[in-house]
């Protein structure tokens, strides 16, 4: 498949007033507002375009399976430090970037957008545009590639992306400590402020899990300092992929994004904390307004992440001036409004 294939499809849609649903493996169809429009399957445009381990940069086409990319990086002792969730075997690189979701490594290593160096995009006029590049420092022009990361395909078709990589840590260990939520919050934040190689943290049901990653010597020294019990089967991939038993059950799943030191939120339901407390998963059927209000009160926001039924906007509403800027940006990239309508914001 070639870029022209997508360009022709987009040109035709713009001419006929069609709406398109840009989609990779469809593993994240559940995320965001309900997808609509004719599906444009991006999986045919796949492959690694450039990869040189000593440059710490890879460039891949959108349809490349995420697992395949990660395998190639692993063979070279490297990884995507933001540990993106796959949510299924069919996950693609393009879908990963469009969703903008980061996994357990986010609090220590940074978010997905932090690692995006460049994007090739097909916009609503069917133009192939290149923003950013393959180098780590680049301030020529506005940082459009990072704007596109996490835009849920509403600004155009992500054809290609260049990502900054990191070496896989030499060694790692996961420790378990028993403590209540408030103490876990304080402890996670305190450790994050110390020169310790903590690379992930999670708390649920009285148990705090901490992952250490780095040099063998560094991990050993930190483990001795932190204490607790070594965990044979670490929970991180289950937490990242939502296969951990916590995520089972049909109640709606909320994703609360909060300042890490926000106090424990006494909401009905079960909670799992990540990222030193700045990400809190809530399994609960309570009134959405109550969840949103609780998050907002501590200067955070709540997203209805998974639910059998979604109505209205699953993301927190935007301030009027921000909503205006969003609509103007959408109009700039996609004047005919053909891409992933309403997925990020109703009517956008």
């Amino acid at each position: 498949m070639t870029l022209e294939h997508f360009q022709d499809r987009i040109r035709a849609a713009a001419a006929n007033g069609e709406k398109l649903c840009l989609r990779g493996g469809g593993t994240k169809d559940f995320y965001g507002n309900t997808p609509s429009g004719e599906i444009v399957d991006t999986r045919g445009y796949a492959g690694i375009v450039a990869y040189e381990p000593s440059e710490l940069v890879v460039t891949a086409r959108c349809g490349t399976p995420l697992a395949e990319l990660e395998n190639i990086l692993a063979q070279n002792g490297q990884c995507l430090p933001f540990e993106p969730p796959h949510f299924g075997d069919a996950a693609t690189v393009g879908g990963c970037i469009a969703a903008g979701l980061s996994g357990p490594g986010r609090a220590a290593a940074g978010a997905l957008r932090d690692f995006v160096l460049g994007i090739k995009l097909i916009d609503g006029r069917a133009q192939a545009l290149a923003f950013g590049g393959q180098v780590m420092k680049n301030v020529a022009g506005y940082d459009v590639s990072r704007l596109i990361a996490g835009s849920l395909g509403t600004l155009g078709l992500i054809a290609e992306v260049s990502l900054k990589l990191a070496p896989r840590p030499q060694s790692g260990a996961t420790l378990r400590l028993e403590m209540p939520q408030m103490r876990a919050l304080e402890t996670m934040n305190r450790w994050a402020g110390q020169p310790l190689p903590v690379s992930a943290s999670a708390w649920h049901d009285g148990e705090l899990m901490v992952r250490l990653s780095g040099s063998t010597a560094g991990v050993r020294a930190a483990a001795a300092k932190i204490g607790g019990e070594a965990v044979g089967e670490p929970p991180w991939s289950g937490i990242r992929e939502h296969t951990d038993p916590f995520f089972a059950g049909s109640e709606p799943l909320w994703r609360l994004s909060l300042p890490s030191t926000a106090p424990a939120l006494p909401l009905e339901g079960r909670q799992l904390l990540e990222w030193n407390g700045s990400l809190r998963w809530l399994k609960s059927g309570i009134d959405p307004a109550v969840v949103r209000e609780a998050a907002q009160r501590v200067k955070g926001n709540a997203t209805l992440f998974r639910a059998e039924q979604k109505s209205g906007n699953c993301f927190a509403p935007l301030a009027p001036v921000l909503e205006r800027v969003h609509r103007e940006l959408k109009a700039a990239f996609d004047p005919a409004g053909i891409f992933n309508r309403g997925r990020l914001l109703p009517g956008l």
């Binding site: 545009l129 180098v135 030499q170 560094g218």
Partner: protein, 485 residues
Amino acid sequence: MGAALPVVKALRAFLPERAILHDEEDTRPYECDGLTAYRQLPMVVALPETEEQVQRILKVCASMGIPVVPRGAGTGLSGGALPPGDGVLLSMAKFMRVLHIDPLARVAVVQPGVRNAVVSELAAPFGLYYAPDPSSQIACTIGGNVSENSGGVHCLKYGLTLHNVLGVRGFTIDGEPLELGGAAPDAPGYDLLALAIGSEGMLMVVTEVTLKLLPKPQCARVIMASFDDVEKAGAAVADVIGAGIVPAGLEMMDRPATHAVEQYVHAGYDLDAAAILLCESDGTAEEVEDEIARMKAILERAGATRMTVSRDEAERLRFWSGRKAAFPAVGRISPDYYCMDGTIPRKRLGEVLNFIAALEKKYGLRCPNVFHAGDGNLHPLILFDANDADQLHRTEQFAAEVLEKCVEVGGTITGEHGVGVEKINQMCVQFRPPELELFRAVKRAFDPSGLLNPGKAVPTLARCAEYGGMRVRGGKLPHPELPRF
């Protein structure tokens, strides 16, 4: 004379007299930033002290159709704060307060006029620091860092301003309040914070910044390694990174640069080496010891002719002092110098350095090089005498060729200094008309009237057509699809 200006009258309604400058003797200090080749007296300088004053200044200017250019400390090297001759230079210098440091949350909330180095000083008692450390950090401000997405010598491991700013607050040109990002991660909607950082003050005026603080590494040591060949030094950098090490800092200086620096700061550099590498490790004592040993072995295999590892903090700082003083040191050996800021894929380093050496001969000008080797950001410094018009002209041609070479090898015209007015022509080489059009549309989304820092960073297509017309290469115009004027 300036007192009679309608905008001055309008500003007097809510600003004290001392916050409005309009006489030439008062406005003269604002005529340029760190790029002194470009100068322009501003019509008026406004020095607000509160967010409300900023908002009212913007509303007044927007309603009168008067351009506004924000300015921090004026240390920028690309003319991003070059004033408008027909507008208001908005100095944020009085926004100097650190509003809040939360050691547990590892966050500092500061006003944009706070100097970069102050943040780390105030965070130090908590064992924390602010990572981006541009060489000008004792003078440059956080607001300016946000505008330019400033880097420093520790970017490879700790990122740029973009990676260390959690949120900003401020106003659009129309005075509408904007809050982007914040202490909670992943704000809903588009990542407008990423767009605002590095936007060269063209999208919004920032009045408050939330910074991420990191735990200060327990210790740090640096290896100073000598090489008898610049390309070997470049290959050694690739070897270190290829071995799975991300050094805290990885800098290269060529012989002309070390010679200039050594006379000035006596950092103890090896003056016989064709190039030296500074290769730093930080972390816990165990981590540093381990990483230094691994790096030494790699550098040795890569052909290092001499290696010294800093024995203590004083020696480490001395090794760095030369690198940080490279620009002023070069300023002492030449009447003027022109600092470039291209970034290239590291593997093309040898090719680009050879290209620069050939240009030195072609233009008859010397050009020492300092290089953020870890992240590919090259700072060639062309030495010239601005009083000699021909030298200035040759310097500009020299610089343009280097930047275009950076684009050709897959890099960029600016890694951390910004486009400003300086590299606006090279934007036409880096981007094609559709991308430039999109940049303009992005600006309109925030600033429909185009009054905020106009004429910077993004060229008009007409300007590119004109520039392309002047620079015909191999019989091909860079933008054959553009109408010519």
